[in-house]
Symmetry: C2
Subunit: 406 residues, 2 copies
DNA sequence: ATTTATTTTCTCGACTGTCGAGAAAAAAGT
DNA sequence: ACTTTTTTCTCGACAGTCGAGAAAATAAAT
């Protein structure tokens, strides 16, 4: 159902527009805001005045005025207007970060994960304690943290902030909302890691001035395989999803996946899948859950030296990925694909198979293969996505609160 | 990029809301409009008055007033405010319809297709002539036709109104916009047929009061395989797409598809694919382009009587469909699936394989199989979709024109 | 030191829109 | 004829955007 509009909503939308343009371009003067948003100067005045009174924006010192004329007043997000916490859960570590409303990092630390421990209880306790440590170390009230943004690989229920299935905990669900509910007023965002990568890539490409950008996909290669899709919807907003790509059915080849199904993409293209093929382990057995990168490097070295089975394993991985991506573009549309993750270091070995797999579908033959780029620093992208999403969420919440607040 | 908002846009949105609620519920009185839209009574007055003056709405005779009190004034779309033409291109016939702005059918006829003729030229000429016939027979000016909505199976470029790939013309593209450009001012909409089915199903389910409806998929079974996905986006608007599902890669089994690729879903589940398997024709040959329904009925009969290879052919078709659908829900989300088309009459033979294919993916095992319903009358759904989309388009255009028109 | 030019921000009135309340209209019941 | 009931219509208050021009604040020129 469509919803009704009103003059108040107009203000809300335009306020959001102002905040968004400050996010995109950094602190700006009145004139620039007007230009970037298309709003009339008078409107910008009204909005900035209101946001300034609400302690959301603050005036920044302008740099030595190069030109003559009345000096510009630079507006920027007020640092103390709120804080955000990001939690990046990866296979071996958990990284906690604290940042302010302007997006500047305040504190960050990592904690090692205990692989042997597959139950969620100790993890949950460590998680709550780490958050406590984060705020107390920086002398921030829990109440000032407006958003906690958590990311993990696996299948996520974003609405309920519940981890449905993850490589680490399997089907043991983790309910983050319930964990923080009692003591934290912050909004909990739980995102698939590769979703954040896709989000960050979309923003990067938009900033780089890519024309007619409709959608971007991110593919993460590692122990597990992740896919994120970011699409600009009709209203120009970015809507991102993390499909269950790694465990999408690839082929009825009987390769057992650690999820319990057979023939998942990950069973061919995840690290353990590559290792299994390279060592000719029977496809119905699952090798060690976590394959050390050094081990993968060894296989890659052999493959590059011409060892047949190792080469074959990587090519099969590429094939599974290419076929999966061909299905993705068949079901969505052609879009640029960014490949990240530790697996990118084997891209030379994967590429041929990947292209072969892509070329097998009509969509690709008709409209050409999607442009593929390799962006190794996954962690950076994940953090970029965390910040972008959390700050946008804060902006929206603050604006929404303003209206019905007083 | 977000776009700025203004008071005029508010009026536009709310006018659209009023027109949409009239579409959904039929002619309504002031009070009902206010209730359905959530707009204040005064606002409804302002909007209806404006639309009435613009000859978009008209007052209808109210039925014998059952209750006392001031009699209601019923508003409805004015029939003559514009006309729409729908063209349904199927494998054997082309159906042309003419309807008015209120959505009532004025004229309809069908023309047989010549199968032997695979060039687009004669088709294009017949198409233009049929449209001419449609308006002249009903004494309507070409200029009064505001939308021509065309549907076909195959791959479509909705933005350019160009048929990119179709079962009939293959890669020979048909540019409908160019065909009508010189003489028609109407907006040309070109949609994949199953996209319209998905749209219609979404509206039906919404009307039936299904709760938490996020998305609906329609799967059309016949000579070719089509899929439409309708999703309600954040703003509550319905956005529908027609992925290239029939030619999505299913399996590297070498089955040649008529599109030239190998292993397409259609190569297993299209009528010719089923026939090929049933008759044990080598998978690298393509049987007759159009398999008569009578022929398929015969195979189905044999299958139901226990003939192994026929049974197997249908089960393989189901398997390919089920695996494809499992990929669809992996890449999108779980959603109700409506199956239509002539192939539904063999659903009993397909079902087992379909369920088997679906169950092979983690997504389905984790979140359950999507609810599947069978809705045989495909043509009805296509027309429903045509009308819904064309009328919505007209509503939007009329409202948009109002603002910058005077 | 004062004036002028320039650039930016701020302010005012006109306009468009929504909303709530209550007046006006129009029919049925008494 | 009067009352009741239901619905539509109208009015004034309020919220928002916009264009134009006033005001502010600085550098350059005199």
């Amino acid at each position: 159902m469509l919803t009704k509009s009103s003059t108040e909503l107009v203000r809300q939308q335009n306020s959001a527009l102002v905040l968004a343009s400050l996010r995109r371009h950094g602190p700006l003067a009145h004139t620039d805001i007007s230009q970037h948003t298309g709003l009339a100067s008078a409107t910008v005045s009204a909005i900035t005045a209101e946001l300034e009174k609400a302690d959301v924006l603050e005036r920044r010192e302008q740099q030595a005025s190069a030109s003559r004329g009345r000096p510009r007043v630079i507006f920027g997000q007020r640092r103390g207007a709120g804080y955000l916490v990001t939690v990046r859960i990866s296979s071996d570590i958990v990284q906690y970060s604290l940042a302010d409303y302007a997006g500047t990092l305040i504190d960050r630390f990592e904690e090692a994960r205990n692989h042997a421990d597959t139950s969620t209880r100790p993890f949950a306790e460590a998680f709550v304690a780490a958050l406590e440590k984060l705020v107390s170390r920086s002398r921030i009230e829990r109440g000032q943290v407006l958003v906690v943004s958590i990311s993990s690989k696996g299948l996520v229920d974003p609405a309920l902030a519940r981890l449905v299935w993850s490589p680490v905990f399997g089907a043991q669900q983790v309910d983050f909302a319930a964990l923080l509910e009692p003591h934290w007023r912050a909004k909990i965002l739980l995102s698939n890691e590769t979703l954040l990568v896709a989000h960050a890539m979309a923003l990067r490409m938009e900033k780089a001035g890519v024309k007619n950008l409709q959608a971007v996909a991110a593919l993460s290669l590692g122990h597990s395989i992740g896919l994120g899709i970011a699409r600009f919807d009709r209203s120009g907003e970015l809507s991102v999803t993390a499909p269950n790509f790694g465990h999408m059915l690839n082929s009825s080849d009987g390769k057992l996946c650690r999820c319990g199904s057979q023939g998942c993409i990950e069973a061919s293209a995840g690290f353990y899948g590559i290792l299994r093929t390279a060592f000719e382990v029977p496809p119905d057995t699952i090798p060690a859950k976590f394959v050390p990168l050094a081990e993968m490097d060894k296989i890659a070295l052999r493959a590059r030296q011409g060892h047949r089975m190792s080469e074959y394993a990587f090519r099969q991985a590429g094939l599974a990925l290419g076929q999966g991506l061909s299905r993705m573009v068949s079901l969505y549309e052609n879009m640029p694909i960014a490949i990240t993750g530790p697996g990118t270091r084997y891209f030379d070995l994967i590429q041929r198979g990947l292209e072969e797999g892509l070329a097998q579908s009509q969509q690709v033959r008709l409209l050409g293969a999607p442009p593929i780029s390799v962006v190794p620093e996954e962690a950076t992208l994940v953090l970029e996505g965390h910040f972008a999403r959390a700050l946008a969420e804060m902006d929206h919440d603050i604006i929404a609160a303003r209206t019905d607040g007083d």
